[in-house]
Symmetry: C2
Subunit: 425 residues, 2 copies
């Protein structure tokens, strides 16, 4: 059965389109933090952030069904849906963020954000870290996985991502000082090349980079340099947003910065294809003067109903507080494991995005071992992954309804898997 599906994928989706896990899972049903495969086996979902308020949350499902039955059209007609939703959403941002464009994906949002920065600054240069991901359009895929394909020109600079295990030979500077210096070098390089500085596009808590522990105010000096050079800050909230970090609605609030442009995506409507780019009225007006942007599906009544119901559930079920408490509890559990297993070198995270970095006695990244743990956890029917530059950090990012009981179950199984598997990097 599974072999047949894999063969059909090869044919229909391309010969080299991958699945998660050596032994892929065939998921047919979901509820809360649980997924079921075609054999009725139950999996604990410790990976999926898109079903933010839990798989198939009945309130979101009902909102989608009710609105789809009533009307689904575009934003060239008047409709309260998008206005009521944006009123609520924008109120959760700092005051300067006053208007928005709703789109279908975080990629579309970041693609617009770059153009907004460009019309605001008159510059083209973009700075990102060298271990990030900001989406899949031609313009933004080069900022991430496709950074080797610079077909649109040499206007991107990749700065070394912050890292808690920097080689001590690299520099004596603090991580913050070092990051700032690298960004300044990128600024100079962009200015010399004639691009100027348009934007620093950043996930303020560096989730894809392996969410390193960083001192308070880590980004402050860097942001000052960007603004001094005439650039703006785009905060990519696709992962940290909607309370994932536990302390705040947005990652940028947690680290204390006020970006000119914010992008939001994945968890926004619990899986319904919705995303958004928000900015000041001034930048929005400039953007619309320069570009004839229209998004057919973006902001349609069904999308707004789904997004609105997702906000309701976050608020009514107090899920940001849950992310804080359960995330803390999970990190405590991982700290216990760390005492038992020396391969766990550091436990990190914010709210319900957490994990543990695996390194050997020699401090070398245990990338193979981390991946092995992920595969073995999958066999125990617990879904998680790895991330970071060396892909040696466990990536645990469950739906926001994850409970302390779920944590216990996760840690217990992780303990077993760590015990049962030798480290053979």
């Amino acid at each position: 059965m599974k072999e047949k599906l894999i063969e059909r994928r090869r044919k229909l989706l391309g010969p080299n389109f991958s699945t998660f896990y050596k032994n892929p899972v065939h998921i047919v049903r979901g509820n809360g933090v649980w997924l079921w495969d075609a054999n009725g086996e139950k999996y604990l979902d410790c990976y999926n952030n898109v079903p933010h308020v839990g798989h198939c949350h009945p309130e979101v499902v009902k909102a989608i069904a009710d609105q789809a039955k009533k009307l689904n059209t575009h934003t060239r007609y008047l409709h309260e849906g998008i206005l009521d939703y944006l009123d609520r959403l924008l109120a959760k941002h700092h005051k300067a963020i006053g208007s928005a464009i709703m789109v279908c994906s975080g990629s579309e949002a970041n693609d617009i954000a770059l153009r907004m920065a460009e019309v605001k600054t008159g510059n083209r240069g973009v700075i990102v870290t060298d271990a990030t991901y900001h989406g899949n359009t031609s313009a933004v895929s080069q900022l991430g996985y496709d950074r080797n394909i610079q077909s649109v020109g040499n206007h991107i600079r990749y700065v070394r991502a912050p890292d808690n295990f920097r080689e001590s030979t690299e520099t004596d500077l603090s991580e913050s000082e070092y990051f700032k210096n690298n960004v300044c070098a990128a600024i100079n390089s962009l200015q010399e090349a004639g691009h100027g500085v348009s934007a620093l596009l950043i996930c303020s808590v560096f989730f894809n980079e392996g969410f390193p522990n960083l001192e308070n105010g880590f980004l402050d000096a860097t942001i000052e340099c960007i603004r001094d050079a005439g650039g703006v800050v785009i905060s990519d909230e696709v992962q940290p947003g909607f309370g994932r970090v536990g302390t705040n609605w947005w990652g940028y609030q947690k680290v204390g910065l006020e970006p000119e442009i914010v992008t939001m995506g994945k968890p926004m409507a619990n899986g319904h294809p919705v995303a958004c780019v928000a900015t000041s009225s001034e930048i929005m007006e400039l953007f619309r003067q320069n570009y004839s942007y229209f998004n057919t599906f973006g902001g349609n009544p069904v999308s707004c109903a789904a997004a609105s119901a997702t906000l309701d559930v976050i608020e009514n079920e107090d899920l940001i507080r849950n992310a804080l408490l359960v995330g803390k509890y999970a990190r405590e559990g991982l700290e216990e494991l760390k005492k038992e297993f020396p391969q766990i070198k550091q436990v990190r995270g914010s709210g319900l995005f957490f994990g543990a970095e695996m390194r050997g006695d020699d401090n070398k990244p245990l990338s193979k071992f981390a991946l092995k743990i992920v595969e073995k956890m999958r066999e125990k029917k617990i879904l998680l992954s790895v991330l970071g530059k060396n892909r040696n950090t466990l990536k645990i990012r469950p739906p926001m309804v994850f409970s302390k009981n779920n944590v216990d179950y996760l840690i217990e199984n992780l303990r077993d898997v760590m015990k049962e598997n030798e480290c053979e990097n």
Copy 2:
């Protein structure tokens, strides 16, 4: 009430984000070809192609609700939804089109198509008409409305769109010969600039260009030139696809060409944000070797259920045949009007995408008059628009369940509006 909504839009969506019509409509409910505003007034929808099988079609709504209740996740897990759907969809294309990527919007599809053409040909140059639209990402918006912003470099060539009312002084050549010559000049220009020819990206029935009447085989010689130059053909089926043209599933089949890459969007899932790019296994493999493309929402089980239900309805309700018959009937009705009103210079269209070009006695485009008719029709609660380079052609593109009765109602009101309004261009 309406003024308040307009004011809220100004604030939340930006000061210069437009609506349709001077007196915008505030739509709250839809069913089949009908829309209702907040006062309970009923409008005949002669414009919206996205609700392809009719607003809020119960089968599509049910498919979305049922699947949203069961599971909505991504394509890194195995799931039959996307495979069953693509099996059906790809079978409707020519044999070379064997694999696909599902995405959220036609823009995302065309953005990928350009990269596919590039990896296949090793070239970057793209040729489009000067009156087209292929989407809103940075890479594709420049092919359309934003063609004056060439920020990604000078690798695009715009060729004059075919036109039934060419100035006779322009050339003695046939429209087909003239088009081919213009494309050849673009090919030469791209080769001289070192870009080479990657793709001709085209709507094979030139809907945005005003859907001119063209002889059989109009594109044949042009396509040969593109392929001789090492380029491929991308057929943008976002508008003509899914039977809109009445004679076939796809516009390219109607004009008898076999594109290497096909993009599909808007009507695909009756308004749920779904789109797709399909190509040969060979091009897909090349693309995946070169790009780490992944689309979080693309091809999720709910999107596939919505798209699949839309195919069901097209087939079960015989909507392609309906488009053919009702479209023909509508053009006959317009031809009758043409006898009464000399401003109607030519009636054109394919299936349920049709309209009439308005020109004066001197053959000059009646752009203002066409727009006035659209506004007056809106006051009669019939929604349509204008298009073409001069925006002097009525754009009538209703849901595919449009009936002969609907046509009668449309024509009757159009007659009244033509009678009541002086031509004052």
